[in-house]
Subunit: 299 residues, 2 copies
């Protein structure tokens, strides 16, 4: 049976596997912090400050106890006990031609029997490269298509809507997939749901390591680095202003350093900066839009 | 009579006066952007990237029209027309021994006759210096005491509560004064309220220019700069996660570049950084607390 303990164990092994693969490619090591949650459970926060990944985190947590009031209210539920486990990743690369990536898989259940899975992967290139975008979205679609013919289109749209920086009228990056509250129904068992989520988790390494290897040794100039720092500023704005997960965590007394591992080592802000016409920076800005079909993109 | 037009005119002259004084001390010039609000009114955003002020903004705005629904709901009001005008300042200095400062004065009225003033000044030193803190709070108290013996203690506490980074369990800096919804009552006329707010606005220059002159030529090391960048990261966290003015602006389609002029040119994040025992950085952290009496501080 797929118990919550089993799911947490699998997620923990996913964290191990991903960290090991990243360490091999980066040639550096994660630093681990074990932490306990006063209300119940805890986690393993792993941080890398590496050769190619300037700053990144791969977090595992499995927390439990009484559902915080903010959450029960938001979910319109009475007081109850909950259990939540997940793996959450954000990597900020050094090279501006390597994209920022985020991945999350999570499972949530309450003692009233309600449960669901959520998660996703999304990519934030500092410089959008249609070939990389094609590769990224094709790989996500391949994973989705194994489970349901509509998953990719549905979850891609969800990502476009979720990773949107409203006050900038820009998407955070080129999207990816995002899903939440995947529970069982007549055709789909808990085991089916887990298998999909597990597959998403295991799509992370082959996809990101390919993008890292393609771009990590590309030469860049100071101007590329400066643009990267501005784009990181937007990443900070999204995470602190709009990301529901971050806000919930900070609001409900989560472990701040684990939540904010998503922030880059350095970010810049320049007042009212506009890239030049026909520049690669402008090309990127023009493509930070919802609804672009990167698999059939023709330019 | 103190009409809304008159208040806006006075605020605009305050912006002029402050910019002129800052330009003189900094030896550089503000860049001005005039903007219009689609719903009515507009503003003058002035940005400096100077010799001592690395990045700063002195904004004036006077906006009007139909009250955005988000605001009327938050204020539990029916649809109505509004008028709002104010001056808002954030300065991020280059030298880590010069504090970040924020000042705001504002006036709000609705067509149902309800009006109020709000505002405040607060200081965010990267390195807390009790002599500077004494000077800063003494000057604010002098201004407050001219109007009411309880203003300083009341508005200081309000600032401690408002400028609080809940997820860090730290105040943003050493506080200052903060007040909102100052309207008329049996003893206090609109003219009295304006005079107080006007005096707060005019306290900005003598206070900040003194702190700037005291510290702008102090020598500093790379380690001081690094600490400054981390503290700026906290400033970003406060403004994007907790500051009600920022969130309201971004939520109600305000002019993003004017709102986010409060962000520094560069900010850093280091995972789980703890300064050394007995260091000036640790001294600062230990004093980012509510309720400290900087006027009678004895160490």
């Amino acid at each position: 049976m797929l118990t919550k303990e089993k799911i947490a164990e699998k997620f923990q092994s996913l964290q191990d596997d991903i960290c090991q693969q990243l360490e091999q490619v980066d040639g550096s090591s994660f630093k681990e912090d074990l932490w306990e949650r006063p209300g119940g459970g805890g986690g393993r926060t792993r941080i890398i400050m590496g050769n190619h990944i300037e700053k990144g985190g791969v977090n595992f947590s499995a927390v439990s106890g009484e559902l915080p009031e903010k959450i029960s209210k938001a979910l319109q539920l009475d007081k109850c006990d909950f259990f939540a486990t997940g793996v959450s990743i954000v990597l900020h690369p050094s090279n501006p031609f390597v994209p920022i990536i985020h991945m999350n898989v999570r499972y949530f259940e309450m003692d009233n029997g309600i449960w669901w899975f959520g998660g996703g992967i999304d990519l934030t290139p500092h410089y959008i490269n249609p070939k990389d975008a094609y590769f990224f979205h094709t790989k996500l679609k391949e994973t989705c298509d194994k489970y349901h013919s509509e998953y990719y289109s549905k979850f891609k749209q969800w990502a476009d809507d979720y990773f949107y920086i409203k006050h900038r009228k820009e998407t955070r990056g080129i999207g990816g997939i995002f899903f939440d509250r995947l529970s069982e129904d007549s055709d789909i068992s808990k085991k089916d749901r887990f298998e999909f989520v597990w597959d998403v988790g295991n799509t992370f390494c082959p996809v990101y390591l390919e993008l890292l290897n393609r771009n990590k040794d590309r030469n860049y100039l100071q101007e590329h680095k400066e643009w990267q720092l501005l784009r990181r500023g937007r990443y900070v704005e999204f995470n602190l202003v709009w990301d529901k997960g971050t806000k919930f965590g900070l609001d409900t007394d989560g472990r701040t350093e684990s939540i904010l591992m998503s922030l880059p080592a350095t970010a810049n802000w320049v007042y009212d900066y506009h890239p030049e016409k026909d520049s690669p920076e402008k090309f990127t800005l023009n493509h930070l839009k919802k609804g672009l079909d990167w698999i059939n993109y023709t330019g």
